[in-house]
């Protein structure tokens, strides 16, 4: 689906953040590795903050004067798999988590480029993408 408005972009962002949060919540109980549980718990907390951030962006940065159409951003390009793999071990959970973070990072990076006319939104998206990059590094250390 083409994400042609700021509202549509943010709705999609909220959707994938919620899905990522649900994955990390379930992943906490799918592993007994304390380090990994701590990592996933941190990502759940981070996700909740990000959801609040996105809702704040929607309230505060929808600048009526320059609501220009957005082109070339499609939700089908970014569709993180957020199901817990059946019988997956710790390594698989980590791999799925890295894949989720990569999808999120790529989405926010692309979206920031498309929403340059709302610079505060672009800046916030860049920050979210940076958080995803950090999480990828953190999660990859265990491999």
């Amino acid at each position: 689906m083409e994400l042609g408005t700021l509202g549509a972009v943010l709705k999609f962002a909220l959707d994938i953040e919620n899905r990522a949060c649900s994955f990390y919540e379930l992943a906490c109980s799918a592993t007994t590795n304390p380090n990994l549980v701590a990592q996933f718990e941190e990502l759940v907390q981070r996700g909740q903050k990000r959801i609040e951030t996105l809702m704040r962006i929607r309230r505060e940065h929808t600048t009526e004067m320059i609501l220009e159409p957005i082109t070339g951003l499609n939700s089908d390009t970014y569709n993180p798999i957020t199901a817990i793999p059946e019988g997956g071990d710790e390594g698989t959970l980590q791999l799925v988590a890295v894949a989720i973070e990569t999808e999120l990072r790529d989405f926010y990076t692309a979206a920031a480029n498309k929403i340059g006319f709302l610079s505060e939104v672009a800046y916030s998206f860049e920050q979210l993408a940076d958080e995803n990059s950090e999480a990828i590094q953190h999660l990859s250390r265990g491999f």
């Binding site: 509202g7 309230r59 009526e64 320059i66």
Partner: protein, 484 residues
């Protein structure tokens, strides 16, 4: 199915109107009747005046910091209810959700700006204007003010006025548009929960009877109006006869000029927002596109391509980029203008008539419409259409563009798209319009600046918002003192 008749809010209470006549509030995307607006009687309007008058004495002696504390709480409550407020606005007015959110951002910004009134309302003084004599100016509130609000920004426009009026110590009556009262009803529900002192802020629904009663009452001191020039002129004259303050924001026909040196990649999206944003129902919307010199052909091609891509639909669906017209009447007016344009010989490049929006056969939809080869004598070049219609005129240079702009009676807004600072300066210097955009399609002043307007687009001297609003809602008293 019975639908609710919305109630007035007078003296801190919800009051059912005794009016026999009502106006349907219609969801413009579906044609469904959402509620009914009572055409309140003269007596009901005067009841609100009485309540506001009675509240004025206590409210004006309330310290300014305490007064704005109420505004701050209203602001916080609007933030908490943001999404619901935006959805109600879309439901009754039709604009798409991002536009409704943008409108509520501005609504909140007005309240935030008015919360600076303890500073903005400060007067000034000088010592020793003569030997041993000092002089000062005090900015005092005047009494009961009211506004008559339009249908295109039903959430925001009343906040150009009342937060400033109330913040300065006046009391107030909001008269929403009967077509779209639900946004104000929701705002007043929130305000009621917060508990602003009774009578300070009131709401009366209705039409001419209520407005005339408010204007003719000896107990109101001023009025703010946003609507058509025809009605605005009548009210402005009447306000003058009554010796009342008035600020009247009327109609518009906004010309956007694109120079050959404009960055088209950045310009075209801004033009889409200007001409087709809010379905062309802003008083700041672009109406006529003046293409200067060689830019004409590439600009025309680009705007048609971009306009074709705009997604029209129910504004409540995320992803929709243009909602319906706000009313059936509004839609019919626009259809009439399109027909006139064809009859008068303009070249219809993109026809938005008959657009089908799946699932919404009864909505008041018209797609983006573009006319080329428009001449100055055509109705579509002269009159306010208030819909998603772009009329293109090819001009040879900036002088010709400005001549065309000045030939029109309106002067609300005008924009130029250029990469030349010299051209931009010349435009802002010469063009007689109240709000000038330089590479900005919608020149909408933020809350700290006055919402300007010139010629037949504005009657009065002090505008809504910002310091102008503080001056409008206060009277300067000079005190000269000498102590023996």
């Amino acid at each position: 199915m019975d639908v609710e008749v919305v109630r007035n809010y007078i003296n801190g209470r919800w009051v059912e109107s005794k009016a026999k006549e009502t106006h349907d509030v219609v969801n413009p995307a579906t044609g469904e009747v959402l509620a009914k607006t009572p055409m309140s009687t003269k007596e009901e309007a005067l009841e609100a005046v009485e309540a506001a008058k009675a509240a004025f004495g206590r409210w004006r002696i309330t310290p300014a910091l305490t007064r704005v504390r109420h505004l701050n709480r209203i602001r916080d409550a609007f933030e908490e209810n943001f999404e619901e407020l935006a959805k109600i606005l879309t439901l009754e007015q039709g604009k798409y959700l991002d536009e409704a959110r943008g409108e509520y951002r501005r609504t909140i910004e007005n309240i935030e700006c008015a919360s600076s009134i303890p500073s903005l309302q400060m007067g000034y003084s000088a010592e020793d204007i003569a030997s041993g004599i000092d002089e000062m100016v005090i900015k005092q509130p005047l009494g009961v003010f009211f506004c008559v609000a339009p249908f295109n920004f039903p959430g925001m426009v009343p906040t150009w006025f009342w937060p400033f009026a109330v913040g300065c110590g006046n009391t107030y009556i909001v008269k929403p548009s009967p077509q779209v009262p639900l946004s104000q009803v929701k705002q007043f529900e929130i305000i009621h929960e917060i508990g602003l002192p009774k009578g300070v802020l009131n709401m009366v629904h209705g039409g001419p009877e209520a407005v005339n009663a408010l204007l003719e009452s000896p107990d109101t001191v001023g009025m703010s109006f946003v609507g058509s020039t025809r009605v605005g002129k009548l009210l402005y004259k009447k306000a003058g006869e009554q010796g009342k303050r008035a600020q009247v924001q009327g109609g518009a026909k906004n010309f956007l000029t694109v120079m050959p040196d404009a960055d088209l990649k950045r310009t075209v999206p801004a033009l889409m927002t200007s001409f087709f944003g809010c379905t062309g129902q802003r008083c700041l919307s672009g109406a006529v596109l003046l293409a200067v010199g060689d830019v004409y052909e590439p600009l025309k091609k680009s705007v048609i391509e971009a306009a074709k891509r705009i997604i029209v639909g129910n504004g409540l669906e995320e992803g929709v980029q243009m909602g319906p017209l706000a009313s059936r009447q509004g839609m019919e007016n626009v259809l009439d203008y399109i027909e006139k344009g064809v009859e008068e010989g303009a070249d219809l490049l993109l026809d938005g008539r008959g657009i089908e929006v799946p699932g919404y056969p009864n909505g008041f939809f018209i797609g983006p419409t573009i006319f080329d080869k428009v001449t100055l004598k055509m109705a579509i070049a002269q009159e306010e259409i208030f819909g998603p219609v772009m009329s293109i005129i090819h001009v040879k240079d900036l002088d010709e563009a400005i001549e065309i702009i000045h030939a029109n009676p309106y002067g609300n807004a005008s924009s130029v798209f250029t990469s030349s600072g010299k051209t931009a300066r010349e435009y802002q210097y010469r063009v007689k319009a109240g709000n000038i955009g330089i590479n900005v399609g919608i020149a909408a002043p933020i809350a700290t600046f006055p919402f300007s307007g010139m010629k037949d687009s504005f009657f009065g001297d002090l505008h809504g918002q910002g310091r102008d609003a503080v001056d409008f809602f206060t009277e300067n008293k000079v005190v000269i003192t000498r102590w023996f």
